[in-house]
């Protein structure tokens, strides 16, 4: 019995998904090395890959249903971590955000990355019940609360970027939990009309501050924005990307934008610009293609999920990943303002890496149990 189970497990294990993820991380480690050749970030990232892979296997071979059953416990544990971060002495302040916890021997990690997973699990569990009707207002409120609690705590860390990546998780779950289509359309139309209008009114009434306007202007016209002030990061990132050309920059790696420190945070937030400089259009398109296949594969897994919570947890992961990729790459390409979020699987950072692999582990676990009723 055990042998049969294992055979089937090995056959049904989503090797494509796992290898795609591992491949992207390896490619990322190469770029991290390009970005900071004198630092050991890339070694840490490869070690992190090992840790993350083990974590993924552990989750993949567990029964996701049992994990979802104890989701509230994980959720509470996650919230506790976020509270812990806020306590001076335990929480570590880096780059102006108090969002790291020092773990003796391991260094520091960012709990908000893990809480993303626990929150997604909690949402999947809550909205995963058998559904006959459209979404009720009460459900909407509870969902909002589940998401709102970690968001509020993260906001206390002054880490607005992370908060942004939480929102699509709830939106996807709500969208897939029978929220009325007309409500969705109404919200889309309203935001298309209302956001520019609000901005315009804000500028006219000076409610939008000058520096905030400046940040928007940088995106609208980076060429003429303040290239030494607000526009610096965006402008340098555009230059770095543009320099890459088709096959990568001609300049030797000692003279790259990142090694000369023109590009800030080249190993983490701006890893995509480094990738663009080193591997050019070809490398970038391949990377984007890799992400597309990965996300499509996840969605395909969700379609075949044996139950609703399984489908929801995969799609919550998809929503989070897709949105984060878009925000990060959009920032590097100068079409979105600079927001400090890592590029999943590429940016150096243990927490993000492990959290993403755990999320993928869930997806694999769901897939492994697609024939189990």
């Amino acid at each position: 019995m055990v042998a049969i189970f294992e055979k089937r497990t090995l056959r049904d294990f989503d090797w494509l998904l796992a290898f795609l993820a591992i491949g992207i991380v390896a490619f990322g480690a190469l770029q991290i090395r390009n970005a900071q050749p004198t630092e050991t970030f890339w070694v840490k990232q490869l070690i992190g890959l090992g840790v993350a892979f083990v974590a993924m296997l552990a989750i993949a071979f567990s029964d996701y249903r049992r994990l979802l059953n104890i989701a509230p416990a994980f959720y509470v544990f996650g919230i506790a971590l976020l509270v812990l971060v806020l306590i001076p002495g335990i929480g570590l302040k880096l780059n102006g955000h108090r969002s790291w916890i020092r773990v003796p021997g391991l260094g520091q990690f960012q709990p908000s990355e893990f809480v993303k997973v626990t929150t997604a699990m909690m949402l999947a569990r809550y909205f995963g019940k058998h559904r006959h009707t459209a979404l009720k207002l009460k459900e909407l409120a509870v969902g909002g609360f589940i998401l709102g609690l970690p968001i509020a705590l993260i906001l206390l860390e002054h880490d607005a970027g992370s908060v942004l990546t939480y929102i699509p998780i709830l939106l996807v779950v709500l969208f897939l939990s029978g929220i009325q289509m007309r409500l969705v359309i109404a919200v889309i139309i309203l935001s298309v009309v209302a956001i520019p209008a609000a901005y315009w009114v804000g500028v006219k009434t000076h409610l939008v501050k000058n520096y905030q306007q400046e940040r928007i202007n940088v995106i609208l016209d980076p060429q003429n924005a303040d290239k030494r002030g607000f526009g610096y990061h965006t402008w340098q990132s555009i230059l770095t990307v543009g320099e890459g050309g088709i096959f990568g920059a001609r300049a030797s790696s000692e003279h790259s934008q990142s090694s000369l420190k023109y590009l800030p945070e080249p190993h983490s937030d701006f890893i995509f610009a480094v990738t663009a400089e080193n591997s050019g259009f070809v490398g970038c398109i391949l990377l984007l293609l890799g992400y597309t296949i990965l996300l499509s594969r996840l969605i395909a897994g969700a379609r075949r999920a044996p139950d609703r919570p399984g489908m929801l947890v995969i799609m919550a992961v998809v929503g989070g990943l897709a949105f984060q990729i878009f925000i990060n790459v959009g920032m590097a390409l100068g079409i979105l303002p600079v927001i400090g979020v890592p590029l999943p699987l590429m940016s150096a950072g243990l927490a993000s890496l492990v959290a993403t692999f755990i999320a993928i582990g869930f997806a694999i676990s769901v897939r492994l149990r697609r024939f189990v009723n």
Binding site: G242, A251, E254, K261, F281, L288, T292, M311
Partner: protein
């Protein structure tokens, strides 16, 4: 999908999410295409420009020699504190002013100017903050490296001029190119950039293109904070071309000494070879220290400069080429040539009445003596005003204007120094301008114009060129300082710069300009001038037996001729060449507000002839002691009051 789905079209919604995800990634792909494929080259260029810097290595300027190989100006290496624009991003320059001013002892006002300048420069430029940095300044910069990473100490060649002001007006000085000059197209064509050192005056300016070396550079890679990470290539600087001048340092020093010892210490002495226009000496007093302009960024230097500008004696002015004076009786030499040329007098009939003066209308203009009815020779020797009043009237205004044109007295001589001015000479327009209330030209104006007063206002160098030209029988050369410009490198090699001999700046003018003077007329006039010194004339006091000086004294009216009123005394002139009938050297002296030409300018000229004589004849000049004694004679004013008869003679 295995679980029940009755409430919603879940399949479609999943599909929608899938489409949305692909769409978002496609947007990124399109943007990538725009940045990397469409505009890739453009951004690559900008990125390269921000990390590549050209750091100039300044080239030393050429050396300036005198005709005997003595070094007049050279360059020595000094240290300079440089502010590079690298990593001034985010720094408030205004806040640096106080700190740097205190730390380096640079004037805050100067720093503010510099910082305004730096805003408009391309990123790789640097700007000198303090020249001639002391070891204290250098260690200050070292100690504040972290606070001011944009400061650097660099070696820079600095010009070294004679410190006592010798030749200051001729050599000129160098300095940083001004923002106004930078805006000119010429400067841009030459590739000049802010902070470049160029000649701003004198020979340094005239021959700047030759003297200026070609800066080398280091092409380096810098990081975002402007720290040099790598060096790509180095191009060594190429020194400028050396200048061999016609100056004779001994004569120059003698000339300057004569001016220093003169009664007012203001004046001009020029020594020229009449055979080719080579200038052996040009002294203008008072003088200044050319080195000052390289100290101008210090407080003390700026104060010195301000004092120099405000000095009522105008030491910066090169009086030889930039000041106009009435030439007094020296004007009579070209008048004599023109009088014969125009037929106002002839070789056979050159006698005119002196009459002790002349009456025009009801106004009597007197001669300083009564010379009867002298011939031209005597009139020159005795400097008879009455003779030349009548000669002027015979020539008329038109005759005088023709003479002025012939001798280029209303034009620049073309000397190879910048900012030479042209003389003002008699004309109806000039009178209208000078006396708008009485604009018509009258006979009395012709009288004034005929003996070097009122309407005759010219530069000493123009006068010397005229008189030396007469001495040469009518050959007027372009006065100049450059004998040769030495080549740099070897022909065929890269960076070779060819040498060349002197060429007039204005090649359209003939050199020499020939004024036709028949031999007999020339001889007559030279005899008159010979007599001035050698035959009891107005310059008899400086006679050198065996070395015949031909000359002419002049006394230029400042307020009224002979009316000695303190500061506004007459200018004292003496213009000469020697030997009289085979000229090899010509000298002019002007002592401002000293008095009579014979008493002040002539002995000064004699002093320079002494030095020349010793150099060329290798023996003591005859009668040197006499001249010295005369030169040292004090209390001139009293002598004049007591002996009016002598005044007529010395005039």
């Amino acid at each position: 999908m295995k679980f029940e789905d009755t409430s919603q079209n879940l399949r479609a919604r999943l599909g929608a999410i899938n489409v949305l995800v692909v769409l978002l990634l496609a947007v990124l792909g399109v943007r990538l295409y725009l940045l990397q494929i469409v505009r890739g080259k453009y951004y690559a260029e900008i990125a390269e420009n921000q990390r590549i810097r050209l750091l100039p290595i300044p080239a030393p300027r050429g050396v300036i020699f005198d005709r005997n190989g003595n070094v007049l100006v050279d360059s020595r290496p000094i240290y300079e504190v440089i502010l590079s624009r690298q990593d001034l991003r985010g720094k408030d320059l205004k806040s640096l002013v106080q700190l740097l001013s205190a730390g380096l002892g640079v004037d805050a006002e100067i720093l503010r100017d510099r910082f305004d300048q730096i805003q408009s420069l391309p990123a790789f430029e640097s700007i000198p903050i303090k020249q001639d940095a002391t070891s204290g300044d250098i260690s200050w910069v070292e100690a504040h490296k972290l606070e001011f990473p944009e400061l650097r100490v660099e070696q820079q060649p600095q010009r070294r001029y004679p410190s006592d002001g010798t030749l200051a007006h001729v050599l000129g000085y160098v300095g940083e190119i001004s923002p106004e000059q930078l805006k000119q197209q010429v400067s841009r064509d030459k590739g000049l950039k802010p902070g470049d050192i160029i000649g701003l005056s004198g020979l340094e300016q005239s021959y700047d293109d030759y003297l200026r070396g070609r800066d080398g550079y280091r092409k380096v890679v810098v990081d975002s904070r402007g720290r040099i990470q790598d060096e790509i290539e180095t191009v060594a600087p190429q020194p400028g071309q050396d200048l061999v001048t016609t100056i004779d340092l001994d004569l120059q020093k003698a000339a300057e000494e004569q001016l220093r010892n003169s009664s007012t210490k203001r004046g001009v002495i020029i020594v020229m070879d009449p055979n080719n226009g080579e200038l052996l000496a040009l002294a203008s007093a008072p003088t200044f220290d050319s080195n000052l302009f390289q100290r101008i960024t210090t407080k003390a230097g700026r104060a010195e400069y301000t004092a120099l500008i405000d000095d009522p004696e105008k030491p910066l002015l090169n009086r030889a080429i930039q000041s106009r004076y009435p030439p007094g009786s020296t004007w009579k030499i070209p008048m004599a040539v023109a009088g014969l040329q125009q037929g106002a007098i002839t070789m056979d009939h050159s006698n005119l009445v002196c009459g002790g003066g002349i009456t025009i209308g009801n106004k009597f203009t007197r001669c300083m003596g009564n010379h009867g009815m002298p011939d031209l020779r005597t009139a020159i020797t005795r400097s008879c005003d009455g003779y030349f009043f009548r000669l002027g009237l015979k020539m008329g205004l038109d005759g005088i204007v023709a003479m002025v044109d012939e001798f280029d007295l209303n034009r620049r001589t073309g000397v190879d120094l910048p900012n030479e001015v042209a003389g003002w000479t008699p004309s109806r327009e000039f009178k209208q301008r000078m006396q708008p209330r009485d604009p018509d030209w009258r006979e009395i104006d012709t009288v004034y114009s005929s003996f070097g007063q009122v309407y005759d206002i010219i530069t000493p160098i123009a006068l010397l060129r005229t008189v030396a030209g007469v001495g040469m029988g009518g050959k007027l050369y372009v006065p100049h300082f450059v004998k040769e410009i030495n080549p740099v490198g070897k022909p065929g090699e890269p960076g070779y710069r060819a040498g060349r001999a002197f060429q007039p700046l204005d090649s359209s003018r003939p050199n020499p300009k020939v004024v036709p003077i028949p031999e007999d007329e020339h001889h007559l006039i030279v005899e008159g001038m010979w007599g001035v010194v050698n035959n009891g004339g107005t310059g008899a006091g400086i006679k050198m037996a065996g070395f015949d000086i031909a000359g002419k004294t002049g006394t230029a009216q400042v307020v009224g001729l002979g009316k000695d009123i303190g500061k506004n005394k007459d200018h004292s002139w003496f213009v000469s060449y020697a030997p009289a009938f085979k000229p090899e050297i010509s000298i002019i002296a002007l002592i401002e507000n000293a008095g009579f030409g014979s008493q002040f300018a002539a002995p000064a000229v004699r002093g320079v002839y002494n030095v020349y004589y010793r150099k060329t004849r290798h023996e003591e000049p005859p009668g040197a002691q006499v001249a010295k004694a005369k030169n040292a004679k004090p209390a001139v004013t009293k002598a004049q009051e007591k002996k009016p008869a002598q005044i007529a003679q010395t005039h």
